[in-house]
């Protein structure tokens, strides 16, 4: 193969950004004064020079065909001088100094099926990963769950109906690629891995698998005359860390891999510190193709937040103000003993005070 190669690799790293910047962004680089949000999904940035740059933000399927990307490029060529960018939440943004192009962009984006929104006090597009479409360790699909959820939430994406921004994510295993957000949908396994002793010794580096377990529940054992591993089922808390190291530790199960809902995560430092999420619902079925049980719980939580949250207050900040007891009452979700933390630092989540709401 080497002999027929005529190209010598250039290890260039990230793509150079200079050629990718909109000319108005380049001209006013580092010299922006302030911004406004004229309407949902539209930003207006004003530079010290007086230059104005409008941004129109639209949701995408994230798993894009080249056809869809070319259509985005057509729109960018027509109305945004041939430039576009993406956000960390899979939205596409078109930049233009011409106010007249804003409505044209919104119309043309709607024509190719991309809704404008996701900026300001609204539900943002969902951060998610691959799932069954392409991942090697998922218990569910990501894009499908997101599609089902956003079909329900699209009006909250396109309009300013929330007290503050609401960020969502989905994750197809306990690793939680989706990250810390206001509402997260994360797979929760509920059984120890089923171990394929026939192949384990041949395909897995056993000491690495043993070391991977955070609760030391895995140990070597000869099974049916073959070197293999066994799991102490009492210790195992079904995290699936071993499965990433060894496909013979089959943690995924069509019925016993469930969904859990977590709330109150936040990455920004605004007001409160960045925060991690808490478990508020679990044992929901993995129910393709539209996961109705999951979308219903998310709707319950959003309805309560929409009603009670104050301007600029994120989900976790609202809960910190009104208390977890009220959160469960107002959402109709039920607190149970599995929601008491039992892992490292669990003590920091216990109420070691006489503070109580009646």
């Amino acid at each position: 193969m080497n002999s027929i190669r005529t190209w010598k690799t250039i290890e260039s790293g990230p793509r150079d950004y200079q050629e990718a910047l909109h000319p108005v962004a380049k001209k006013n680089y580092g010299k922006w004064h302030y911004h406004e949000m004229p309407k949902p999904g539209v930003l207006k940035h004003i530079a010290e020079s007086g230059d104005v740059l409008f941004t129109v933000r639209a949701g995408t399927p994230r798993q894009d065909s080249v056809d869809l990307i070319r259509r985005m490029c057509d729109i960018a060529d027509k109305y945004a001088d041939g430039y576009l960018r993406f956000t960390v939440r899979n939205n596409v943004e078109f930049l233009t100094p011409h106010e007249a192009n804003v409505e044209l962009l919104i119309t043309e984006l709607a024509a190719i099926g991309l809704p404008v929104g996701g900026a300001g006090p609204c539900v943002s597009a969902i951060a998610h990963t691959q799932g069954w479409l392409h991942c090697d360790i998922p218990a569910t699909d990501a894009s499908g769950v997101v599609k089902a959820l956003m079909d329900n939430l699209i009006e909250d994406f396109k309009n300013w109906r929330m007290p503050s921004k609401v960020r969502l994510s989905t994750s197809c295993c306990a690793i939680n690629c989706g990250g810390q957000v206001d509402i997260a949908i994360v797979v929760k396994h509920t059984r120890p891995p089923r171990i394929n002793h026939e192949i384990l010794g041949n395909i897995c580096e056993m000491p690495k698998v043993v070391a991977r377990c955070p609760v030391a529940a895995i140990r070597p054992e000869v099974v049916n005359d073959k070197p293999s591993l066994i799991v102490d089922n009492d210790k195992c808390m079904y995290c699936g860390a071993c499965f990433g190291a060894c496909p013979a530790m089959e943690i995924n199960h069509p019925e016993h891999s469930k969904f859990a809902i977590w709330v109150g995560g936040k990455n920004s430092n605004a007001r409160s510190k960045p925060s991690v999420m808490s478990l508020v619902a679990h044992n929901l079925p993995n129910n393709p193709p539209r996961w109705p049980e999951v979308t219903e719980v998310v709707a319950q939580i959003l309805a309560a937040f929409k009603k009670e949250g104050r301007p600029w207050e994120r989900m976790g900040e609202w809960i910190a103000r009104v208390g977890w007891k009220h959160f469960f009452e107002t959402t109709g979700l039920v607190f149970d003993k599995d929601m008491i933390d039992s892992y490292r630092h669990a003590r920091t989540t216990f109420n070691q005070s006489a503070h109580i709401r009646f």
């Binding site: 690799t9 793509r15 911004h35 024509a111």
Partner: protein, 412 residues
């Protein structure tokens, strides 16, 4: 003919056409309904147009996953000449049943910092990818790579050479330096306290060999956010969070403050701005706001609410937080502040930052275990030991409070 990528419209189009290429996918078809753009409609349209068997196989396998609630991709080793990472290998476990997508490997391609594109570079990438691969692209992976999904191993090298000639390079995978992410930065944000795009570009260009050749304990990620709003989610998502910071007073345009009050009312100033200040560092005096900058913790809230009236100060730089990561195995960890403030203006500042990063990574290579992120290593051996190891001075900014437990060793 341009097809709408929206569930209702695509139905009209497909029902009027004789589509014989794809096999029935009744469960996936459910995801063509509803108003949000459908990845299934996009995939089906692409498959019908290009008649690529690999796409038909992908849809068949995904339908089978939906029916059996099981995934069927297996990781495997695929690479390009000279690199140890950047291609994520995927082989089907059910290729006997569905042979057309037996291989569906992915390129991780590094975009420009800030995810800025011109249409020429994006169209060019689409053309190359349609020629060699499936035509399916995720924009973007959670770490920030362009994910070109679906190519056979035999075509990998030729495709990479073409991508590389067009100016793209692969991202990281495995126990390596990973592709970085940066916010929109000074290109379009008034809050950017440093040049996120430039620092991203310079840092990752420096570590480019470590991206392509996994040699660490585990992954290492940089993320660059221009201000404490942290739009790249760096604190929970990266080993090294580089966050824009200022250390003088918030800039106040008194006239613009008054305009804001006139427009929004004094009640809003009190309820939305002053009462939400986490350290009560803003007072209402004579009908306007007065900021106690000494007690400001740089949270960004008041600046976010009043961007025309308030701006970050003039003495700007970065704050470094080290050790963020997601759940596996010890639970989610936020990054810990290890450098409260670092100037980030000159090329020398950039070099100093890169040098410090190298020292930190070297310490981690020496002290970390296999599959241990640097945050886990620091938790295991101690923050004090880490600071000694890399030669950083301890600072009260690194902790929320001094030690509360009495068991420690000191060099008296």
């Amino acid at each position: 003919m341009i097809k709408a990528n929206n569930g209702n419209k695509i139905e009209e189009v497909t029902s009027s056409q004789d589509n014989t290429f794809l096999n029935p996918t009744p469960m996936l078809d459910e995801l063509e309904n509803g108003p949000w753009p459908s990845f299934i409609s996009g995939l089906k349209e692409l498959a019908e147009r290009t008649r690529k068997p690999i796409l038909r196989g992908l849809l068949d396998q995904l339908e089978y996953s939906y029916q059996t609630k099981t995934g069927y991709w297996q990781g495997s080793l695929v690479t390009v000449h000279g690199y140890g990472s950047g291609v994520v290998g995927r082989r089907s476990m059910i290729k006997d049943k569905i042979p057309e997508a037996a291989e569906f490997h992915t390129f991780r391609v590094q975009p420009a910092p800030g995810l800025h594109y011109n249409t020429k570079m994006l169209r060019n990438l689409c053309d190359t990818w349609e020629k060699h691969g499936s035509g399916l692209i995720a924009l973007h992976g959670q770490t920030g790579d362009i994910m070109l999904q679906g190519i056979e191993e035999a075509k990998v090298q030729e495709c990479f050479d073409e991508i590389n000639q067009a100016g793209w390079d692969l991202g990281g995978a495995g126990a390596a330096m990973r592709s970085a992410a940066s916010c929109v930065g000074p290109a379009r944000c008034e809050h950017a306290c440093y040049d996120t795009l430039k620092l991203h570009y310079k840092t990752i260009t420096h570590f480019v060999s470590e991206i392509h050749r996994p040699q660490y304990n585990y992954k290492f990620k940089f993320k660059f956010s221009g201000c404490p709003n942290d739009c790249t989610n760096s604190i929970f998502r990266s080993d090294m969070a580089v966050i824009g910071m200022w250390r003088d007073a918030i800039q106040v345009d008194a006239a613009a403050v008054q305009t804001w009050i006139d427009k929004n009312s004094i009640d809003s100033l009190v309820n939305i701005v002053i009462n939400n200040c986490p350290t009560r560092a803003i007072l209402l005096k004579k009908g306007t706001m007065v900021i106690d900058n000494k007690n400001c913790i740089h949270c960004m809230h008041c600046i976010n609410v009043m961007p025309q009236a308030l701006s970050p100060g003039k003495e700007r730089g970065v704050t470094l937080l080290l050790g963020g990561k997601n759940v596996l195995k010890v639970g989610t960890m936020g990054g810990t502040m290890i450098v409260p403030f670092l100037k980030m203006e000159t090329d020398e500042d950039v070099e100093d930052f890169i040098h410090l990063s190298e020292t930190i990574i070297e310490w981690w290579n020496d002290n970390g275990f296999d599959h241990e992120r640097i945050g886990e290593t620091i938790e295991r051996v101690g923050l004090k030991q880490f600071l000694d190891g890399v030669g950083l001075e301890a600072s009260i900014d690194m902790v929320t409070q001094p030690r509360s437990n009495p068991y420690y060793k000191s060099e008296y």
